[in-house]
């Protein structure tokens, strides 16, 4: 028997920019998710270990790629956790999809693609 009200899925938003963090948090909350946030990689790992989110939205500030360490460590915590790489660079998509990330979304003021990807990955994961 399926549950009447499915428990809300938990998302972890890793984003160093305060304003963007706020934006994604609010927008994704509006979609009905429980949203946890982290400002940097260390904080993200702490939250992930503590709260076991269902999906991670990871900002990678390329080409410095400061998010990659975080990605590796996140995957150490949970191999199966879906990760969306969220970045302002459109150019590195190919190299990243072959990587461990499940999706690569280029930042945009229109969050439709992001939301759809989150939905798709969570559905697949079920």
């Amino acid at each position: 028997m399926s549950q009447a009200v499915p428990s809300p899925r938990t998302l972890l938003v890793v984003e160093d920019n305060v304003h963007q963090r706020l934006l994604y948090e609010e927008e994704l909350k509006d979609e009905g998710y429980t949203v946890l946030t982290a400002g940097d990689g260390r904080e993200a790992l702490e939250v992930a270990q503590r709260a076991h989110p269902d999906l991670v939205l990871l900002d990678i500030n390329m080409p410095v790629m400061d998010g990659l360490d975080t990605l590796g460590k996140l995957l150490e915590v949970d191999h199966h956790i879906p990760v969306i790489i969220h970045t302002a660079y459109p150019g590195y998509q190919d190299s990243f999809t072959s990587w461990s990330a499940d999706a690569y979304v280029v930042k945009s003021s229109d969050l439709t693609e992001l939301k759809q990807t989150v939905q798709r990955l969570l559905a697949r994961d079920k």
């Binding site: 934006l23 500030n61 410095v64 970045t87 302002a88 930042k107 945009s108 229109d110």
Partner: protein, 783 residues
């Protein structure tokens, strides 16, 4: 008279007769002495006068035969030992008389000599009553065949010179008076012989010295105190190509170039030598001598000068030791290494070609009049005229040589000058002529070039071998035209052809001649050109390879530049997309939730913030792309630093940062662009403050590093920059700071650069970062 009986008339007559006879004898003796004296003075050579002396004596002592023996060896006139030494032998030197008593035969001569030899130990020896032909060793033989012999030795300083001997079949032929007279004559002979021997020795010595002097390997010159040439040896005459009689009495300054004399202080040295007797040695003197005045072929001498006296007059002897060939060998070795250096100094193909030809034509290089360089076109199998160097005419050549002489340029200076005049050089008539020259590698009309290229040999060839005779009608027209062009250019009587090779590959060919000076091309020149061509071939090949490399590198740099631009674009897109997506996102939220006033206000303020960030980015980008021109004014650095701290006050206070300053107040006003330096300082101060979110001390100091440089140091106590990031801090968009465009430090760096200063950064993780700005201490006065 007393009672003595008067002498009878007869007695009287006899007495007077005797007196008369005595007087006549004395007169005869005196006239004989006179004759002998005249005779011995008539010649300085005793071999000439001794026979005459014997004749005079024989004609006086008609009953006698006369002989003169000489000691062998004769004593040296300058031998000062006065001990008596018997001569080894006595040798018959002269004889006269008709009695056959002086024998030339061996046995008899020996006994005669023995008699004479015996006399040597005595004043004189007289024997009577023996066979005169047998000699003094024999006892007198009684009445039968009785005879007399007299031998008188004569000496020079106690050393026997010889013996004067008279022999007669008449026992009474010689009396005591005769002996006295003959002793006189013997001593005359001795004196004269002595002087003759001395004369002969001086003469021999003179001849000996003359021979030494004239056959010496080195040129030698004797000059008096008035600078006149007294004598010159053969070698000197040959060297200057003048006969000795023209040199004698000539002024030294007329024979040698006066400017060279002056340059090498030869006249001063001469004066010092003749006046003070101080010998001088002048080393490596370069002289151009009459008859051997060839440009590019200097003669090099070591000159030794020392004093001699001639008739109490001081004179200077100049010994010229010709070092030209030794020096030339050395010079050539040096030259080749020098040329090698020049060759390797440049990889610009045109400069290399010019260097090659300059080295061939420069007087202190190989010294050829003209040089031509043709390069191989491998595709077309042709030689193409590349560069020609040298005068276009004899008068131009004279002018150039004169100029070079005047200026005394070394090879480097000539090369530098050639660089400067390369344009005019390229438009020279010779160059224009050569540029048109193309020779097919298989053109049979230029056989020497073919041989040189085929056999990889440097050749010296007369013109008729370089250019085969006037081509006949049935020769290919193109080849004929090439021949005519070549013939117009290569018109010297002989030329050197040297192939230019890189390893075994043919690069080109060099031709050189002495068309204007007409100097013969020597083996050493050919050798030099050969080794120079060897180096030149490699150098030209290197330069060509480098040219290709340079081209490839340029392409590489272009692609690199594209990569950098791509990188910049990526970074820039990040910098724009982030705020843009934030602005858009919040704007959409505004549209979606216009009812929540609190959220609207917050969302709107985020939009304002992000828009400001975008504007800042745009300003920085513009500043980076086209910085405003720098405007320098004299001002106090500390004031600008203070203002920067004031402007950053908000950041500083909000972060609880404490500022500690330490200014050297004695620093004068410096030329600065106030607004831009302020911007640079502000960037650093803000960076420093922001690196200490939990507070800390920001230290700012101004001090003189040295009298020419003033330094501003700004240190924070922040988390520091990791070493791998430190080298990128001035790269655009490298910053990972939350605030700012990522262009702050690059712009700061640029501003300091524009002030001709230096921006450095030192950092230790967890300890802090120090930015050091070094500015030149320029004051208004210097500007």
């Amino acid at each position: 008279m007393g009672n003595d009986p008067l002498p009878s008339l007869d007695e009287e007559r006899n007495h007077y007769r005797a007196l008369l006879a005595q007087e006549q004898r004395r007169v005869a003796h005196l006239s004989m002495i006179n004759a002998v004296q005249r005779c011995i003075l008539s010649s300085p050579d005793y071999a000439t006068f001794l026979p005459l002396v014997t004749q005079i004596l024989a004609s006086h002592f008609t009953a006698c035969d006369v002989a003169i023996y000489l000691a062998e060896p004769l004593p040296e006139p300058d031998d000062t030992k006065s001990t008596f030494e018997e001569p080894d032998i006595l040798k018959l030197a002269a004889q006269a008389g008709e009695h056959g008593l002086i024998y030339a035969g061996n046995k008899e001569q020996e006994t005669c000599v023995n008699f004479a030899m015996k006399a040597v130990r005595q004043e004189h020896l007289i024997c009577r009553g023996f066979a005169p032909q047998i000699g003094a060793d024999c006892e007198p033989l009684g009445d039968n065949g009785q005879s007399a012999a007299l031998a008188i030795p004569f000496f020079s300083q106690n050393k026997p010179l010889g013996v004067l001997k008279l022999a007669s079949t008449d026992v009474q032929a010689i009396d005591a008076g005769d002996i006295t007279i003959l002793q006189m004559i013997a001593s005359l002979l001795a004196t004269r012989m002595e002087s003759c021997l001395a004369y002969a020795q001086v003469h021999d010595l003179g001849l000996f010295q003359q021979r030494l002097f004239s056959t010496m390997l080195h040129a030698l010159l004797v000059v008096d105190c008035k600078g006149r040439i007294r004598s010159a040896n053969e070698r000197f005459c040959e060297t200057v190509n003048l006969p000795e009689n023209e040199l004698q009495g000539a002024q030294l300054t007329d024979i040698l170039d006066s400017s060279e004399l002056e340059k090498n202080s030869i006249l001063e040295a001469l004066a010092d030598v003749t006046e003070n007797g101080v010998p001088h040695e002048l080393e490596g003197v370069q002289l151009s001598l009459p008859g051997v005045q060839l440009p590019g072929a200097p003669l090099i001498f070591d000159i030794r000068i020392f004093r001699v006296f001639y008739r109490h007059q001081p004179q200077a002897v100049l010994l010229f030791i010709n070092l030209t060939s030794r020096w030339r060998n050395f010079h050539q070795l040096q030259l080749m290494s020098e040329i090698g250096r020049y060759f390797s100094a440049s990889l610009d193909i045109n400069k290399v070609l010019r260097t090659v030809l300059t080295c061939i034509t420069a007087g202190n290089g190989l010294g050829f009049n003209r040089a031509f360089l043709l390069l191989v076109d491998e595709k077309k199998q042709q030689l193409k005229g590349a560069l020609a160097l040298g005068a276009s005419s004899a008068s131009e050549a004279q002018y150039i040589w004169h100029e070079l002489d005047e200026n005394e340029w070394n090879l480097q200076q000539i090369l530098d000058a050639a660089d400067n005049v390369s344009e005019s050089l390229e438009s020279s008539p010779l160059q224009q002529q050569l540029s048109k020259l193309v020779i097919d590698l298989d053109n049979p009309l230029l056989p020497a070039i073919q041989i040189s290229l085929d056999e990889h040999r440097t050749l010296r060839v007369p013109q008729n071998e370089l250019l085969a005779g006037m081509p006949s009608e049935n020769i290919n027209e193109v080849h004929r035209a090439q021949w005519q062009q070549a013939a117009a250019l290569f018109n010297a009587s002989e030329m050197v052809v040297a192939p230019l090779l890189a390893k075994d590959r043919l690069v080109g060919v060099v031709l050189a001649d002495n068309v204007f000076s007409g100097n013969l091309i020597e083996d050493s020149d050919v050798q030099l050109l050969d080794s120079l061509a060897g180096q030149a071939g490699l150098t030209i090949d290197n330069a060509r390879t480098y040219q290709q490399l340079e081209k490839a590198q340029k392409e590489l740099v272009n692609s690199e530049r594209l990569a950098v631009v791509g990188d910049m674009t990526a970074r820039l897109s990040h910098e724009i997309r982030n705020p843009l997506s934030t602005i858009g996102g919040f704007a959409r939220r505004l549209c979606k939730h216009p009812e929540n006033a609190e959220a609207v206000l917050r969302n709107a303020s985020v939009i304002v913030d992000e828009t400001t960030r975008l504007e800042e980015l745009l300003n920085d980008l513009l500043e980076m792309a086209s910085p405003s021109a720098i405007e320098l004014k004299s001002q106090h650095l500390s004031e600008i630093v203070d203002q920067a701290l004031l402007l950053a006050d908000a950041d500083i206070k909000s972060l609880k940062v404490e500022v500690k300053t330490d200014y050297d107040r004695n620093i004068p006003e410096v030329l600065l662009d106030r607004a831009r330096l302020l911007q640079a300082l502000l960037n650093i101060v803000r960076n420093g403050a922001q690196s200490m979110p939990n507070g800390g001390v920001l230290r700012v100091s101004i001090a003189l590093k040295n009298p020419a440089i003033v330094q501003i140091k700004i240190s924070d106590e922040g988390k520091g920059i990791p070493p791998n990031a430190l080298k990128h801090v001035f790269d655009p968009f490298y910053s990972t700071k939350l605030k700012g465009s990522g262009l702050g430090l690059p712009i700061t760096w640029r501003i300091i650069q524009d002030h001709h200063g230096k921006l450095e950064v030192e950092s230790k993780v967890d300890e802090g970062t120090t930015f050091i700005i070094s500015l030149p201490l320029r004051t208004a006065l210097e500007e």
